[in-house]
Symmetry: C2
């Protein structure tokens, strides 16, 4: 056995032991050390870079590591095996995906504005903000020798009388605490109820003097990031909010790699644990602590996520999703309860799942569509969710069509050498001086935070600026020279946005031709999907009234730049609206409003799905869109004007 | 720490460690060594006798241990504390209550006759033997690119079409296995369903070629003994049968002591574990093994037991049962599932609980009443369940009244120095020669089994014979002399049925005046309850058409002897019927037949309850009945004839 030490930039270490020949990336996974591996360890993405500090590693050399980097100890973990005691540095950027959990400061209006807006705006569609959860006070006559009704019937009788409902269900966990709560409170109690016109479910019972807030939990499970809010089910107030990297990241960056990993022995459990035990439950604990809420007071949960994520969340075989004819186990399910999957809230809590409409258009999109309100207007709107997959919905109050394209993780910083999520240290906006080619950038975090990488909106800005300044050509190749422009031994060009000495990490923050190529293919997938879907409906981009952009790309997304690089169609900028994480906002609305929940099921049933790969012209559209901005520049008339 | 060794007659030992001053009975409980302690350790019953073999004990001397016994090393565990390394012998009789699990040999017709009879006879009342559980075969069209319905909707669609039912519920555990089962079996499956006119619950799904038996589990949880059968839910066939001592015995012999123990810290969990983990689950495992059944194929359970037992089984606070106004948490509950209480069968299995009608008349009596069919005849019948508590039901198809009396554990061998359950080694019948005073007895077990104690029916015979032979007087005192009759230093008489050399244990099998006194008080409780209840209704014993006797007293009960000692009224012997463990038989019927289940709820609702302690004459009746046969011998005219 050899000792393997993972050292981090903050000085902390994780030590473990391994045998000769053990793979370093696997060792890291076992030791719960997050090293990004979007390609799931087949040496194709080059993100699992670590630096040898002492000892030895048996490493293959790859194109991702330049000679001088190799000499400086840089290795890819996925092609390194152990042959001696070893210490490696895991740079921050290598685990930027798996960023630490971030609990939002709710005193900032920004954090809650999006929910407040969504709540206000959904009401205009006629949807009422009420749900079936309630707290009621019940006073019973204490039993006597003349009135020997047992506890459960006594409570049922009082509730039936009070609410004029026929059937009362008292579950085991409530029955179990009933004798004590009744007697300690002289048969005066508060009940947490779910009432429907026909029956009533008693979720909980407390003494009448106890202060009872009925809470709900909305969670957006993104392939890369998990976000959640705990809310007061009565007022809809946000009580706590947090986000964290999806713990499944260490099993691959995209859904296909995750599904493959889940098929290995014990894999389904591992993937489920990674998202529930390692990600969501710690978020719940921290949020409850911050908000001073008991976990058991969360009586309902709503999950919005893509189809693969909700299957893996539920521990259900997702393999059929990736194989023709691509059939999920469920679109809708009513059968999930907290106790089934080990979510650490009240164990009787029902888990609502935003409905999927296919293997590649999931509940995150139906929830997001609810928020976009494109279903409530006669005008034609386009809803775009930029996640690890890109999904589109186009339509109005009469019809809606959806489609999905595999954009890859580039919008969230994946597949980009210095890419990262829109969290502390991420460059989220950038301007480049056309003459000096010097950048000016904005970094996420406290003032003075040094840059360690680029998030989606930052990448868009950098590529757009490089293109507009004539530093790169429409193919994304560097065509100017300067101190920030370098070429490696293979001739691959790159542009340094922040040199190591200005950066917050051990490495320059740069963008390479490979990065640009990856990003261009991602934006090309989106643009060609828009064109293909509109064409199939005989629509033209000029007929789009509004574009709603959602996703973790960052609120700083510069729509002009996104148009410049040919990601979005060249239509008036005022038509674009960034609506943030609409999957989470949708889950919030479904949790808060029974009518919103029903509406989402209705939207899912009524939405048609366009399988892009079945449209013969899609591939041509895609190839044309893999340029800056496009092979057909006539599609971008305004841009041509700007470039002059 | 001292080493404490418990040695058993079969040569096995259990070793544990304890500190100075630790109580030996507590140490035994912790080490899971069964030492009977009906009085729960307050030195009043004298049953926790152990023999010091080496080392030392700090023991109080009590009346229960004679001087020469003390010199021979006999001690009561409950008043002994550890002061050195010590080895004690635990005689078989001290753990006779906690007898080993006994799995019935179903090739014996006797074992199943009672269920076959009950099944046949209940049909004459108009009750149908059908339940809502079914196995159906379902063939679906496999999905294709043109038919992309998800797995759960595909199955629901097929089931709805097939059975013309609107609402199909697929629980999480089934959803989880659905994708694999469907694909491995080309979308041809068998489903285990519960169907009602409005909805359907899918309990399980299997490949169409699999052999699926839908099983049910009926359990009678007696205070002393737990009995169970696993049945085929379609045919009602008994697939396995077992009984074992209730693991709660080590926390006291009667319900009051159990409730008190359950109130100690962690006590509720301990008592629940004792009956579920230590008793019922091992029985299930053994029965399933013997019958070759998977535990997960048991989809429904029915529990019949007294109110305290079903509360402790469910882990629900039973303390209010023993305190005025004696209010249980439930009479009926629909809320128990296998997963709630950790019963090791299919985790979605519903647990039906035979309804209680009060704190002291529980589901064992309502289930037993169902079996007795006294509710289906115009003639007046009396149903008597001789358990640790004695319960009576009197009535006919027009009315029923119930009452309960605390008989104590004497009928099951408790409170009797050589008492034991009706299991191997128990003397179950006895005749004494009037001249020689020599006994002839019958022992439970293989031919040649040596006696180690007396079960209920054996005690009745011995007392009746001693009385008829004039060896004891109506007060239960010895009035003849002989080699089998002894008096100890305090003058207490006893009669030896088997001397140590003829016995299967280390001790004579005898009956003492204290034993007789205990038993006489138990039978007096029953007789006075019968009289008080009939009086309250203005009925006379002569108006009783049939008496149904149930309980663990032993199938060998000699009704004539029971009348001789004044336990039952002196009416023609052909009116008495022993119906065995009617609580288990009733649970079996409730499990098998939805109509029988409903009927039992109906019986429970319609039965009135007489609180004996509220009847002023009850105490006088009881005092009069504490003689052999009674202070008023005119009540036993036929006996007077026989005594001549």
């Amino acid at each position: 056995m050899f000792k393997v030490t993972f050292a981090f930039e903050d000085g902390s270490v994780v030590e473990t032991y391994a045998n000769t020949g053990d793979n370093l990336l696997e060792i890291a996974r076992e030791a719960n050390v997050a090293i990004d591996a979007p390609c799931s360890g087949n040496a194709s993405c080059g993100k699992c870079r670590v630096q040898l500090k002492s000892g030895e590693l048996n490493s293959k050399k790859t194109l991702h590591i330049a000679d001088e980097e190799f000499d400086a100890g840089w290795r890819l973990a996925c092609v390194s095996t152990v042959c001696a005691d070893v210490t490696v540095l895991v740079p921050d950027i290598a685990s930027a995906y798996k960023s630490r959990m971030k609990v939002a400061d709710l005193s900032s209006r920004e954090e809650i504005a999006i929910f407040e807006n969504a709540k206000r705006e959904i009401v205009f569609t006629g949807i009422q903000l009420s749900n079936s959860l309630d707290v009621v006070e019940v006073e019973m006559d204490p039993p006597s020798l003349d009135d020997t009704m047992p506890d459960n019937e006594r409570l049922s009788r009082a509730l039936r009388k009070f609410l004029n409902i026929k059937y009362v269900r008292i579950p085991y966990r409530v029955l179990k605490k009933l004798p004590d709560v009744l007697r300690e409170n002289d048969f005066k109690v508060k009940c947490v109820l779910r009432t429907t016109p026909n029956d009533m479910f008693v979720y909980d019972v407390f003494g009448i003097t106890e202060d009872v807030t009925v809470c709900g939990l909305a969670v957006d499970i993104g392939t890369t990031t998990v976000s959640a809010v705990i809310i007061d089910m009565e007022s809809g107030k946000i009580l706590a909010k947090a986000s964290a990297g999806n713990g499944q990241i260490r099993f691959g960056a995209d859904v296909i790699n995750r599904i493959i990993e889940s098929q290995k022995p014990g894999g389904r459990k591992k993937l489920q644990d990674a998202v529930i035990k390692d990600t969501i439950n710690p978020m719940i604990r921290q949020m409850c602590k911050n908000a001073g809420i008991g976990k058991d007071r969360i009586y309902r949960m709503c999950v919005a996520s893509n189809t693969t994520m909700n299957h893996l969340f539920a521990g259900i075989n997702a393999d059929p999703l990736r194989m023709e004819p691509y059939i999920p186990a469920f679109f809708k399910t009513n059968s999930l309860f907290a106790s089934d999957v080990g979510i650490d809230i009240n164990q009787d809590a029902h888990i609502i799942v935003a409905p999927n409409i296919g293997s590649y258009v999931g509940g995150d999109i139906t929830a997001g569509t609810l928020v976009s309100r494109i279903w409530n207007r006669p005008e034609f709107s386009l809803f775009i969710d930029l996640g690890t997959n890109g999904e589109l919905v186009f339509g109005n109050s009469d019809f809606m069509m959806s489609c999905a394209c595999s954009a890859g993780p580039a919008f969230e910083g994946g597949d980009i050498s210095c890419g990262m999520r829109a969290t502390d240290g991420a460059i989220e906006a950038c301007v480049i001086d056309k003459e000096t080619m010097e950048p000016t950038y904005k970094v996420v975090g406290e003032p003075g935070t040094k840059p360690i990488g680029l998030c989606g909106s930052g990448i868009i800005d950098v590529i757009s600026e490089l293109f507009i300044c004539g530093i790169i050509n429409p193919k994304g190749k560097f065509v100017r020279e300067g101190k920030r422009i370098r070429h490696d031994q293979y001739g691959m060009g790159s542009y340094v946005i922040a040199f190591e000495e200005d950066a917050g990490s051990v490495k320059d923050v740069e963008i390479t031709e490979v990065d640009i190529d990856n990003f261009v293919r991602a934006k090309g997938a989106i643009f060609s999907a828009i064109r293909t879907m509109l064409n199939s409906l005989d629509f033209d981009v000029s007929m789009i009234d509004d574009v709603y952009v959602a996703g973790g790309i960052g609120s700083g997304i510069n729509m002009k730049n996104a148009v410049n690089i040919g990601m979005f169609p060249d239509i008036p900028l005022e038509k674009f609206h960034y609506i943030g994480n609409s999957s989470l906002t949708g889950a919030y609305l479904m949790l808060l409003s029974t009518q919103a929940e029903k509406k989402t099921y209705e939207l899912a049933s009524n939405m048609t799905y366009l399988e892009l790969s079945a449209v013969p012209t899609y591939m041509d559209e895609f190839v044309g869109a893999c340029f800056l901005p496009h092979t057909d520049t006539s599609l971008f008339p305004d841009l041509a004007e700007r470039m002059k």
